[in-house]
């Protein structure tokens, strides 16, 4: 496991995983909004925040983890009312229709939450909806190491 750290985000990546952490481009640059991409396949360069370009290249055994930070004014309320990373993540949370655009066979899920007065979205894409139960442990293994300051 190798650590990737930046701007208060830290994650441990197993062998063969790619990862990136960066500041999102927002109109109001007074507040830092961070983004993290982690994948068990080769991440292409120049991805957008939701890493759609990476999702398009996924094979059936691939997983993609995206963490995006949103406007802190939204923290703790509405969509972001839940506090902390999701503790229970099941195969039933995933749906092929949760993909940003139709990508046959793939599956995705989103969780919105707040942490320390900041608002986040965790977005996970699996390379195969049919194999989601087998792929989910890969995601859980990595998310267990994620820390947010």
């Amino acid at each position: 496991m190798e650590k990737l750290t930046r701007s208060g985000l830290e994650i441990e990546l197993p062998d063969g995983w790619d990862g990136r952490i960066y500041r999102r481009e927002v109109d109001d640059d007074a507040v830092t909004r961070r983004a993290l991409h982690a994948a068990n396949f080769a991440l292409p360069p120049n991805l957008g925040d939701y890493a759609v370009g990476a999702a398009e290249r996924m094979g059936s055994g691939d997983v993609l983890v995206v963490l995006l930070e949103f406007d802190p004014d939204q923290a703790g309320a509405g969509l972001f009312a839940n506090e902390g990373l999701p503790t229970s993540m099941g195969a039933g949370d995933f749906s092929p229709s949760a993909m940003p655009r139709a990508m046959p066979g793939r599956s995705a899920a989103q969780w919105f939450f707040s942490r320390g007065g900041r608002a986040f979205c965790l977005y996970v894409v699996l390379g195969s909806h049919g194999e989601r139960a087998a792929l989910l442990p890969l995601v859980s293994q990595v998310l267990k190491t994620l820390t947010i300051d």
Binding site: E2, L4, G19
Partner: protein
């Protein structure tokens, strides 16, 4: 008078010996530098003198490292090299060397680029303490990841630029490494290294066959195809 002439003669001889010694020392330094690959970059030799392409270096059982650093767009990045499903070609380039300029241009046209073995191409420059992120951002090819990491240069013991390392993904083994002046030379370099690697693997299989034959185990021998044993309550 004769004494003065004798002293001068001795001094001249001593100076001659000193000059010959210095010239030999200078030649030795130049020879060592040449062996180390210095002067490969035409920047160092005005006029762009063609230099030989070093043969691929094999590090035996050496394994690669993941590459961690900053992208030219200021992202913290980690590239999974060891344990990755695909192999990786790491291209160690700088913004300043003239030879590297050709590679930056080549990588900007990925439609014409073939990477041996279907490997992933990753460009690695030195970190922002040495290279300008703005300059690397100008040079960075959109199709390939670019990571700025002096640590990667140290870990892979990069002797000069440009330099290329081919790492087998699943095993993390360094298949070969070396330098070249054009991408065609690099692909030739790696095709040779990959062919050598395949030969080695084939040699290992042939050796195993020979040892099995010496032990009286021929193709089709029942020990090579054991029948599946049914579970029996007596096994408990």
């Amino acid at each position: 008078m004769a004494e003065v002439v004798a002293i001068q003669a001795v001094a001249i001889v001593l100076l001659g010996v000193l000059v010959v010694g210095l010239l030999r020392s200078h030649a030795e330094i130049l020879r060592k530098l040449h062996e180390l690959g210095a002067g490969l970059d035409p920047d160092a030799t005005p006029g762009g003198v063609t230099t030989r392409v070093p043969a691929p270096v094999r590090r035996g059982e050496a394994t690669g490292f993941d590459v961690a650093g900053i992208t030219p767009t200021d992202q913290a990045a980690r590239i999974g090299v060891v344990g990755a499903r695909q192999s990786t070609v790491l291209a160690f380039l700088s913004s300043g060397c003239l030879t590297c300029g050709g590679f930056w241009d080549t990588f900007a046209r990925p439609d014409r680029l073939t990477v041996p073995g279907g490997a992933r191409l990753v460009v690695v420059t030195k970190g922002s303490e040495i290279e300008s992120p703005a300059r690397i951002r100008e040079l960075a090819p959109p199709a390939f990841p670019v990571v700025m990491s002096t640590e990667a240069w140290l870990e892979y013991q990069v002797p000069h630029t440009p330099y290329f390392v081919y790492v087998d993904g699943p095993s993390g083994r360094i298949i070969g490494e070396g330098s070249a002046q054009t991408w065609d030379q690099v692909t030739s370099l790696w095709s040779q290294a990959l062919a050598d690697d395949a030969d080695l693997a084939a040699g290992g299989e042939a050796r195993a066959d020979r040892e099995l034959l010496q032990a009286g185990i021929h193709p089709g021998h029942e020990s090579l195809h054991p029948r599946r044993r049914r579970w029996s309550p007596d096994d408990e």
